[in-house]
């Protein structure tokens, strides 16, 4: 059986939080959440977590400072002879630079995962942490009266010993095959971000998403087509902004009253923010529920649709992100 682990997701963006929790739930892991560094520190002091996914850019106390505080608190506990919580802290960040990685490791984080969080990354982390939790249980049993003495506390669980196995390989038997069947079913599910454009619902596969942000000040750029609105500064990262409605040939932009958002996507090393009227939900769609598109766009844009799907009462147009990115409209000359 898999060792049950407790996970804390620290993320200020509500949708990103939901995505992380939802990906973890697919792996059979229940997660708790915190929105700020202060909340994260309080949560860790109040409860033993095995794994903390820590966004490094948070309002108020950032992820680096929160980690520093958690490690300081752990060291203090250890110095007083209290068993140190064995917490694996993994930075989640949109920055890929070595300097950011070094800063994360310097404050005591165990690993750095570049956003967007992917199911494979989380599965790997959870598997390794589960192995670590199992090792800790065995060590605790050995520490117990009558047990053999453990040589030392295993470190934060980021290291994997020779004998470690992935959960699906840990034991044979009916429990495990049921687990595998469940995972296969989960693999058929596609996670989509649903958003609104001109009062219609659209969705793209979450794997293309790097982050979702409110659309802040967009600096126009001279000499570009009108669907390229300009550049936005996302905490120092400059990202091109494309009006997705215009790109899809949707001419009427009805005021929705909601705050426009940017879907920041990543493709072949290029980040592009797509402006949408609102981001509404993150859903899971079985692949087989996506039908060929009956919704029509003008002929020029028809290739941008992958299909459509019913979700509750809503009909959602699923966009073909790769085709959009490969289109002439996204290749300036």
């Amino acid at each position: 059986m898999d060792a049950a682990i407790s996970v804390l997701v620290v993320e200020d963006n509500a949708l990103n939080r939901k995505v992380a929790v939802s990906l973890l739930e697919k792996l059979g892991v229940r997660a708790e959440t915190a929105r700020t560094g202060e909340e994260a520190v309080a949560a860790v002091k109040a409860k033993d977590f095995d794994l903390v996914l820590m966004d490094i850019e948070l309002p108020g106390m950032g992820g680096l400072a929160a980690t520093r505080e958690i490690r300081r608190w752990q060291a203090e506990k250890a110095a007083r002879g209290m068993r140190r919580g064995n917490i694996m802290i993994v930075a989640t960040t949109a920055h890929q630079g070595q300097d950011v990685r070094k800063q994360c490791l310097d404050v005591g984080m165990d690993e750095v995962v570049v956003k967007p969080l992917r199911a494979e990354d989380l599965q790997d982390l959870v598997s390794r942490r589960q192995s670590g939790a199992r090792e800790s249980s065995l060590a605790a049993a050995r520490d117990a009266p009558g047990g053999s003495r453990a040589e030392g506390d295993s470190s934060a669980g980021s290291e994997k010993s020779e004998g470690d196995e992935r959960p699906s390989q840990v034991s044979a038997g009916s429990d495990n095959s049921a687990l595998n069947t469940g995972r296969e079913a989960a693999m058929d599910l596609r996670q989509m971000v649903v958003f609104s454009l001109c009062n219609e619902k659209y969705a793209i596969d979450i794997n293309h998403l790097k982050r979702i942000v409110w659309a802040g000040a967009i600096t126009p750029v001279p000499g570009v087509p009108s669907h390229i609105l300009g550049i936005v500064n996302l905490r120092g990262d400059l990202v091109s902004v494309v009006d997705l409605g215009q790109l899809l040939g949707l001419k009427t932009r009805a005021p929705t009253g909601s705050k426009p958002s940017l879907l920041v996507t990543h493709n072949k090393g290029i980040d592009v923010g797509f402006l949408v009227d609102s981001v509404d939900d993150v859903i899971e769609l079985p692949s087989r529920s996506i039908d060929p598109p009956l919704i029509t766009l003008e002929r020029e844009y028809a290739g941008f649709l992958e299909g459509e799907a019913k979700f509750g009462e809503a009909l959602i147009a699923i966009l073909n992100y790769e085709r959009i990115m490969a289109s002439d409209k996204m290749r300036l000359k």
Partner: protein, 139 residues
């Protein structure tokens, strides 16, 4: 917030505006700013260069062209009309960014090599080096 390391080298930029756009050029490439009509400049030795055309500004983008920049590229000099010269700014190199790839691939990428983050604004950094190869002057 990411903590930065040692102090970065600095660069000085001349800031100017055309239409609604804030632009910048390396101080080495700008000899001086002149008020339009206020100084006699030898038109033969300083052919005019139309930055609006180079940068692809839309026809609807109103400009006044009240000031001139005397641009130096090697031994050549050019005159460019701008709306206003905002002055000099010295920035850490960390405040300079390349154009985002999608935009760099377009027309603007031929003349703009990057962006300077100047307080809350972005200044498009123009490189005039290509003017010499182009032969200079309008058109």
């Amino acid at each position: 917030m990411i903590e930065t390391g040692a102090r970065m080298p600095q660069t000085t930029i001349v800031l100017f505006r055309i239409g609604g756009f804030l632009l910048g050029a390396a101080v080495d490439e700008v000899e001086q700013g002149l008020r339009s009509g206020g100084a006699a400049v030898d038109a033969a030795s300083c052919p005019p260069v139309d930055l609006r055309e180079l940068l692809g500004l839309a026809a609807s983008e109103q400009t006044r062209g009240r000031e001139l920049l005397l641009i130096r590229v090697g031994a050549q000099r050019f005159l460019a009309a701008v709306d206003s010269v905002e002055g000099l700014v010295t920035l850490d190199r960390s405040a300079l960014r390349p154009l985002p790839p999608l935009i760099a691939a377009g027309r603007i990428g031929r003349w703009v090599w990057g962006i300077a983050l100047v307080q809350a604004e972005m200044a498009f950094l123009v490189s005039f080096a290509g003017l010499a190869a182009r032969g200079g002057g309008e058109g």
